[in-house]
């Protein structure tokens, strides 16, 4: 069991997400920085979909009520056990009665706590992730509060023969956590609504992350973009940035009124009536989720072939890391088909 003494700013139970319900209006949710979350599970020998905790900016204080092993990954932060600093990106044994707390976050914006066995909240529609917009999943559908007690489960990788060894990530695999990120975008969707000059401007501009940056999406500040003239299609709405309501892919970039693009993360609204420009490649959403105001974002246009190549590269790197950690990683376990 883990008892929450102080919850931090926003600490949520998250996992790899709840896929297969997009058509019902429900996004996958799950850890925003999937790579850091996944590495946490590897470090403690968990099943790759085991639930952990995601915290934003200020970490929680947690008392453990049994012996276990944890790993802290994601944003750069000092993790303390009974006041003693511990390494990040490594498995750390914790004894019954000991307390985990955090110093200030120095780089990035989201930290992850993996606990051996996983956080054992009920699995709803195939996942333990919290989707706060409808108070669903996780621990009672909400961020953790003081006094919450979370059971630790048995979500341990069944073929992990090295569970007891102390694992530590090779520093060459650490995320950059820089205050700027260049994100790969596949253009498409309603991109034809923008003038060619505005499309070009989008890829040349520096955008700033605004204060409106949360699990649903990040609003960016940048140059105004312009639209191609049109006759208003029936059902679209009069503003040039209005479209007949349509689906928003995860990672898609909508640009209401041509100002302030909004990039959707894993608590995405699944659709709406604003023109969409393109979609950030999924493996780049990890870096976006570690940004905060006033960090900078630039975009690079990539083809679908290049997008899939980048995805493969990220997966191959995870496979290499797993090998180096002697963790029995298999990509097949990554995302279930839920249809």
């Amino acid at each position: 069991m883990m008892q929450i003494i102080m919850p931090g700013l926003q600490t949520l139970v998250q996992d790899s997400g709840r896929d297969g319900y997009y058509a019902l209006g429900m996004p996958p949710a799950g850890a925003l920085d999937q790579r850091s979350y996944t590495l946490g599970n590897m470090l403690v020998g968990n099943d790759s979909r085991a639930a952990g905790l995601e915290f934003a900016f200020i970490g929680p204080t947690i008392q453990f009520q049994s012996d276990t092993v944890i790993a802290v990954t994601g944003a750069e932060v000092t993790a303390l056990i009974d006041g003693e600093p511990q390494p990040m990106w490594a498995s750390v044994p914790v004894k019954n009665g000991q307390t985990l707390s955090f110093g200030p976050m120095t780089r990035g914006s989201r930290g992850y706590i993996a606990v051996r066995g996983g956080v054992d909240v009920p699995k709803l529609l195939g996942s333990r992730s919290t989707y706060q917009n409808v108070q669903f999943g996780g621990h009672m559908g909400r961020a953790l509060k003081p006094g919450d007690v979370l059971p630790i489960g048995t979500q341990i990788h069944s073929e992990d023969g090295h569970a007891d060894r102390i694992r530590e990530l090779d520093p060459k695999y650490l995320p950059s956590l820089d205050s700027g990120a260049d994100l790969a975008v596949v253009t498409g969707l309603c991109n034809y609504r923008f003038t060619p000059e505005s499309v070009q401007l989008f890829f040349e501009a520096n955008f700033t992350v605004s204060h409106e940056a949360n699990r649903t999406g990040y609003r960016l500040i940048g140059p105004a973009l312009e639209f191609v003239e049109r006759d208003v299609p029936f059902g679209a709405g009069n503003d040039p940035s209005n479209v007949v309501n349509l689906g928003y892919p995860l990672g898609s970039i909508q640009i209401p009124s041509g100002n302030e693009p909004i990039c959707l993360l894993r608590d995405a609204v699944t659709g709406g009536g604003y023109v969409t420009f393109g979609t950030i490649v999924s493996t780049d959403l990890d870096a976006l989720a570690q940004l905060k105001t006033p960090d900078t974002v630039t975009f690079t246009s990539v083809s679908i072939t290049e997008a899939h190549a980048r995805r493969r590269y990220a997966h191959n790197e995870l496979a290499q890391i797993a090998k180096s950690l002697k963790y029995p990683w298999a990509l097949e376990t990554e995302r279930e088909e839920t249809q």
């Binding site: 319900y21 997009y22 029936f234 309501n245 980048r310």
Partner: protein
């Protein structure tokens, strides 16, 4: 593949939503027959259970699929999509196995009225209520005429948009008879749960309280979402009105609103619903008589 858009034969443009989504837009405007084609397409694709495809998401004038790139041969998937797309568009009008659901509405109710009065400064016409405004801009003499039109013919849910359970639906009548209303100039920060709204040509029911930007016409006492699936009407699916469902709105009094609400809270209310085969061909041949036939299923 270097072109941003693939033009599909039969009409429509396909593009990629990053590495996991495929987005197909049939046209930029809302058309009922096109929406019916999209519902048919989505059902066909879902029934095919394509390996690696996790989501098939129909919308009003477009649809989207999500796939796992590692489990999909992309050229093959695109070929299959193109084939189904073309066959559905060119093929004979299909039949959709679906349900018609009665949604009781307390029109011009005190809760939505109280909310919308707080946001008159964001409205095109601060001096009237949303339902008065919607009636007037659609040429109705009174609110009652608007309610009569809203309840006379069924709506088809064409998109589950924004949040779980939010069914956006279009009335199965020709375009010149569709109720149309602009959205607020700037969205409200509040909307009561279960409010029945209208924006553009679409009706919707707010599953829960929150922000919103469409005209508020009334409130239903029944729930449209139950993520925990604890109530009897939601055992098979967490939303009451998935895309492809027909809705028949029925005007109710304040007294009936409270009766139904109490029964819903006790999980004793059962939504009136009937299984139907919706024939796109019959709709095209004679929408008015066919709507009456469909509504009879609820009697």
């Amino acid at each position: 593949m270097t072109e941003m858009y693939l033009q599909l034969s039969g009409g429509g443009r396909l593009s990629f939503g990053g590495d996991e989504f495929i987005f197909v837009e049939l046209s930029e405007e809302m058309r009922i027959q096109q929406a019916l084609t999209i519902q048919t397409l989505a059902r066909t694709l879902t029934a095919m259970n394509l390996p690696g495809v996790t989501d098939v998401c129909p919308a009003h004038a477009s649809y989207m699929i999500r796939y796992i790139p590692e489990r999909v041969n992309l050229p093959e998937l695109l070929a299959t999509l193109q084939e189904v797309h073309e066959e559905t568009i060119m093929g004979r009008p299909a039949t959709i196995n679906t349900r018609i659901v009665e949604v009781p509405v307390y029109y011009n109710d005190p809760w939505t009225r109280e909310t919308l009065m707080k946001f008159r400064d964001r409205h095109h016409d601060p001096s009237s209520t949303d339902i008065e405004y919607t009636a007037r801009v659609n040429g109705f003499e009174s609110i009652d005429e608007l309610i009569a039109a809203h309840t006379r013919h069924p709506f088809l849910v064409t998109f589950m948009n924004f949040v779980p359970g939010n069914a956006e639906s279009v009335q199965l009548v020709p375009r010149h008879l569709q109720i149309e209303a602009p959205k607020y100039k700037s969205p409200r920060t509040e909307t009561p749960s279960r409010a029945v709204g209208h924006g553009g040509a679409f009706a919707n029911i707010y599953p829960s309280a929150g922000a919103g930007g469409v005209q508020l016409l009334g409130r239903t006492p029944i729930n449209v979402v139950d993520m925990a699936q604890s109530c009897a009407d939601f055992r098979e699916r967490p939303v009451l009105l998935p895309a492809g469902t027909l809705i028949s709105f029925r005007a109710i009094s304040e007294a009936e609103y409270f009766d139904i609400r109490a029964a819903v809270d006790a999980d004793e209310y059962r939504v009136r619903v009937a299984d139907i085969e919706f024939s796109v061909g019959k709709h095209i041949e004679g929408w008015e008589a066919y709507n009456d036939e469909l509504l009879e299923a609820l009697q």
